[in-house]
Symmetry: C2
Subunit: 129 residues, 2 copies
DNA sequence: CCACACTATGTGCAAATTGTCAATAGTCAA
DNA sequence: TTGACTATTGACAATTTGCACATAGTGTGG
């Protein structure tokens, strides 16, 4: 997992991805309440497929600890053990809004680096000294 | 440092920032060889000001361990103890190029989340259920 | 009934990353 | 000779992340 390319990639999903787990979960819950398992599956749409389920469940419980979401046991009978339904709270809604500001800032940061890189590549023809 | 906003921010610089430390250092070295201390100062231009020096020096030594940079002691007499000069290697140059691809992917990920959020906000008028 | 596959969640611990503190060491100016 | 500033490093603590596995219900085929 070290050096030469393997450093950033792990199970087809970038290692940095987990940093976007919380805002993505909040967004999915902004659409409406959902089960952990469902959220887990829908993460794939946001490039977060392949995360270990434990990581996702843990994130949800942590978010509940912070009061961003609440959970209740689903009474509906399904093909398996009881499931938790997570609901976004007003606090979680605020957190999501703060997260989007943070993401925009991150985006600007990335743009700045990429911009500087491409400008420098054009000028210097890719040379480094 | 936990909950409510303090979670992402630390010394005026986002906690995720350190993830962009390596590509930024590589970019700065792409401009030309430089001392660790100089790099440390120039990081501010990329929103990475306020990082603890140890973190930066460590990153440089790790990168040297991976063969991305080499270092030599500066013979020039300056106002202080001897300084290391870091030079980008061919391998480091490749690493930088891989990093930019990674950053572009991260950018797409962020855009996807932000896009989904703003679309959903327009439709639903900011309601969450 | 029993083995098995699939759904669903959770625990504990190891490994990796990140943050802090303090040590070392040279130069310069008062 | 003290203190401020330049420069780099080491050791250790705290936090985050990944993984292996435990638990548990449901449905299917033999």
């Amino acid at each position: 997992m070290r050096g030469q390319g393997g450093r950033w990639r792990w199970r087809g999903c970038s290692r940095r991805a987990v940093r976007f787990l919380e805002p993505t979960l909040l967004l999915l819950l902004h659409y409406g309440p959902a089960h952990g398992y469902t959220l887990l599956e829908r993460l794939g749409e946001f490039g977060l497929g392949g995360l270990n389920p434990s990581v996702v469940y843990r994130a949800l419980r942590d978010m509940e600890g912070r009061g961003w979401v609440t959970s209740t046991w689903d009474t509906e009978q399904t093909q398996g053990p009881p499931r938790r339904v997570y609901h976004l709270t007003a606090l979680g809604n605020e957190a999501l809004s703060l997260w989007t500001q943070d993401l925009q800032e991150t985006r600007r940061l990335i743009d700045h680096v990429l911009g500087a890189y491409s400008r420098h590549m054009e000028e210097g023809k890719g040379e480094y000294h």
